[in-house]
């Protein structure tokens, strides 16, 4: 079975500062990895995904993530955050060839002026 750990439940950061949201996963088989963002009272929006190929994945809104197989990590980064990035961020994993996502518990990013 797969599992996802998002160690930071909340990350406060000032506007225009860089940010990294951490995600570690556990799996005995190859996986696909995803980051989703959820704004208050809304559904989840896909930020980016890693399926294969380059381990550095670029997504929407200036976010990127790097797949590190040896460390079983898929950390999300942004070089300069905006107030509008304040939201909940979820990391998710699914075994290749399957369609059921396993989600982490989420990280709340709080951007202040």
């Amino acid at each position: 079975a797969q599992s996802v750990t998002q160690l930071d439940s909340q990350v406060p950061v000032f506007e225009e500062a860089p940010v990294e949201l951490r995600c570690n996963y556990s799996s005995s088989v190859s996986v696909y990895l995803f980051w989703y963002v959820q704004y208050p009272n809304q559904g989840l929006q896909l930020l980016l995904k890693y399926l294969s190929g380059s381990t550095l994945v670029k997504g929407i809104n200036g976010f990127e993530a790097e797949f590190n197989k040896s460390q079983t990590s898929f950390h999300l980064r942004k070089p300069s955050v905006h107030i509008s990035d304040t939201a909940e961020y979820f990391c998710a994993v699914t075994p290749t060839g399957f369609q059921k996502l396993v989600f982490g518990t989420g990280t709340r990013l709080l951007v202040s002026p």
């Binding site: 989703y36 009272n41 559904g43 989840l44 896909l46 995904k49 399926l51 979820f90 059921k100 996502l101």
Partner: protein, 113 residues
């Protein structure tokens, strides 16, 4: 382009009352469909998924049920709601050729009193 609708957006129901939440997808055929529940301060829990009309797989035993009467319609039901059924219910879809990537609807917030 594909869109996904959920209604109602918000629902307040008494304990013991029935429930029916609806999800419809437009712009695609034969999607995989999913129901998730997000409890306050927690991640997403997969409740049901469907790969075709009348085909429902349950992930978590509970007093909820799901049905797929049409190709692009997915319904979540309960005969008698419990307090613990309160939460944010999200519907998602994926396509057969890329079923690892799920796209989410706007959600329904359910409060059981």
């Amino acid at each position: 382009s594909q869109t996904i609708h959920q209604w109602p957006a918000t629902l307040v129901q008494p304990v013991g009352s029935p429930l029916s939440l609806e999800c419809t997808v437009e712009g695609t055929s034969n999607p995989n469909l999913y129901w998730y529940r997000q409890a306050a301060g927690r991640g997403l829990q997969l409740l049901f998924y469907s790969v075709g009309i009348g085909q429902i797989s349950s992930e978590v035993p509970q007093n909820l049920s799901a049905s797929r009467p049409q190709d692009r319609q997915f319904i979540l039901s309960s005969k008698k709601l419990l307090l613990s059924d309160s939460g944010f219910y999200l519907c998602a879809w994926s396509v057969l050729v890329a079923q690892e990537t799920q796209y989410f609807g706007p959600g329904t917030r359910l409060l059981v009193l």
